[in-house]
């Protein structure tokens, strides 16, 4: 199959798994909105108004990272419960096209939440066109990173029951515990480097830079205080995650 046919296949998977899935199960949208909007509500009620943009940026990143959970659940479900991954992989479709199609279809589920949070962000803080573009780039990177991690994890499960606890642990470690919804400054200076064990911290700090929010320094690792260092870190981690997913994803059972 030519690369054009592969691209068309990716878009078809996105269409029937993403758009048609969303159109026929719109309740998924409510579930996707619920967590980030709840966090934003608590920040709005409990925190000073100056913290609100952090909550909105957190909502954007949370939505992107949620594609990882969706990817993990969906891919594992289609492989273990429906055995449809086997049907699609045993065909001229390249495995990478299957993954991209699945990842894009997860993005479809996230787009309404992203639109909402980006709109709120424009309302609560001034964002230049360049910053907005930077933010879109961040969204793409966060999506690629979380989707590749989600797919990689999905391939290691033997039953669907194992997925729920692992998904909860991984996702919470990526999106709730690190400074995604709150500023890095809230973490004691000597321990800020620990937050960077979660790739999402790179994304949240870059997002803060992009929209002009105050960004705390990391005294023990100065590299992590500069936007260039953060870009290198996030791009490097994304490439690493995609590479690991492609290398170790179990297309064939051992």
């Amino acid at each position: 199959m030519s690369w054009r046919t592969q691209v068309r296949a990716v878009l078809r998977i996105c269409w029937f798994n993403g758009f048609l899935g969303l159109a026929r199960s719109p309740l998924v949208l409510v579930a996707l909105f619920l967590t980030p909007v709840s966090f934003l509500f608590f920040i709005y009620v409990l925190a000073p108004r100056s913290e609100l943009p952090f909550g909105v940026v957190g909502g954007i990143l949370f939505s992107c990272l949620f594609t990882g959970t969706g990817m993990m659940n969906d891919c594992a479900y289609l492989r273990l419960e429906r055995q449809l991954q086997q049907v699609f992989i045993s065909s001229p479709l390249r495995p990478i096209s299957w993954v991209l199609g699945m990842a894009l279809s997860q993005l479809v589920f996230t787009v309404p939440a992203l639109v909402l949070f980006l709109t709120v962000l424009l309302l609560v803080t001034p964002v230049s066109a360049l910053s907005f573009l930077a933010l879109l780039g961040l969204i793409v990177l966060a999506w690629l990173l979380s989707a590749s991690l989600g797919f990689l994890l999905s391939t290691f499960f033997r039953t669907l029951r194992e997925i729920w606890p692992i998904g909860m642990i991984v996702f919470t470690s990526l999106s709730v515990i690190p400074p995604v919804f709150y500023p890095l400054a809230a973490v004691p200076a000597d321990f800020r480097w620990v937050a960077f064990l979660a790739p999402s911290t790179f994304a949240s700090q870059l997002a803060a830079h992009a929209v002009g929010l105050p960004v705390a320094s990391v005294p023990s690792v100065p590299f992590l205080s500069s936007p260039a260092g953060l870009v290198v870190g996030l791009v490097g981690l994304t490439v690493l995650f995609i590479g690991v997913a492609m290398r170790f994803a179990r297309w064939r059972e051992p």
Binding site: M1, T5, R8, A9, R12, I13, W15, F16, N17, L20, G21, R24, S25, E81, R82, Q83, L84, Q86, V87, F88, I89, S90, S91, P92, L93, R94, R252, E253, P254
Partner: protein
């Protein structure tokens, strides 16, 4: 030319109870254009073989080639030429049968026009027209299975792996699927089908193999398998005889409230005369493939148990 050639194919799983050989040095050839059946009990190794031959599972040792291409090292080339119905696969819950077939064809690279026309044809042939626009979540298990099989048969792939494709279907639906499978073979596909319905194997396949405990016990036609058990006739008695009385004549098993014995033609007269003397109804007929299968596999199990007991 052989469409599939397996040589000394083995698969060993490391389980909690030690190493289990799902396939043990299996040799198998399937000719191009053949409709080949794979019979065996649950856990005999049929699905393991299909998974390895379709590139979904890595063998422990041995080789398998599809159209001369090594599945282990050149799986991408193999995938270009195959389609598979996995055992107990299920369709997307939110898509209709028509969408399943059409989208699958488009993903495989078919043009929009071909996909549409083929979808129309296969949906009709599989008896799915009344349900073509109903999401799979509202369909019965049998109709969902038919949808999955329709997707794969519509592909027109050179080699079709069908792992229990008619599971859960009613007899009418099964026959519709058989027709579509036969059509696929006439159109040039080679088919490897596993089934527990022995009438299906007998009606459908050109050749079959019986697998038990990871070994191929038999390969040949259904007719030859029946003659291999050296019992040509089955007699069913509605009571009146004990198992001990009938055992000297052949294999005996309980069935429909009576006893059935599989025996040779030369013993039929003796047995029917005895039945008439006792005023017992007797039904005479040819040995079925199911009986031949049970005899063949049963003997293998007995031999294994005897070997196990001896060691």
């Amino acid at each position: 030319m052989d469409a599939l050639r397996a040589r000394s194919l083995s698969k060993v799983y490391d389980g909690r109870r030690g190493r289990v050989a799902a396939l043990d040095h299996v040799d198998l050839d399937i000719r191009t254009g053949q409709l080949f059946g794979f019979l065996g009990r649950n856990g005999a190794g049929k699905t393991t073989f299909i998974k390895i031959a379709s590139g979904l599972l890595i063998p422990t040792s041995g080789s398998v080639e599809l159209f001369g291409v090594d599945v282990r090292t050149r799986v991408r080339e193999v995938r270009e030429r195959i389609a598979i119905v996995p055992q107990e696969g299920k369709p997307f819950y939110h898509l209709t049968p028509r969408e399943h077939v059409e989208e699958y064809l488009l993903v495989r690279g078919a043009s929009s026009e071909t996909a549409r026309d083929t979808t129309d044809r296969i949906v009709r042939a599989m008896g799915l027209t009344p349900y073509a626009s109903t999401p799979a979540m509202f369909l019965s298990g049998g109709l969902q299975q038919r949808t999955l099989v329709a997707m794969v048969l519509a592909s027109g792939a050179e080699f079709l792996f069908l792992d229990e494709p008619t599971l859960g279907m009613d007899p009418f639906a099964r026959r519709q699927v058989w027709d579509v499978i036969r059509h696929a073979v006439r159109a040039g596909s080679t088919v490897l089908i596993t089934t527990h319905y022995l009438d299906e194997a007998e009606q459908l396949t050109d050749e079959l193999a019986v697998i038990e405990g990871g070994h191929v016990l038999y390969k040949g036609s259904a007719e030859a398998l029946k003659s291999k058990v050296r019992r040509e006739v089955r007699l069913h008695f509605d009571g009146g005889f004990s198992t001990q009385e009938l055992t000297p004549f052949g294999e005996v098993y309980a069935e429909r409230g009576g006893l059935t014995v599989m025996t040779t033609r030369s013993r039929v007269e003796e047995l029917t005369r005895a039945a008439l003397e006792r005023r017992i109804a007797v039904t005479v007929g040819p040995v079925t493939l199911e009986e031949a299968f049970l005899t063949l596999v049963g003997r293998s199990i007995e031999e294994d148990e005897a070997e196990g007991g001896a060691t």
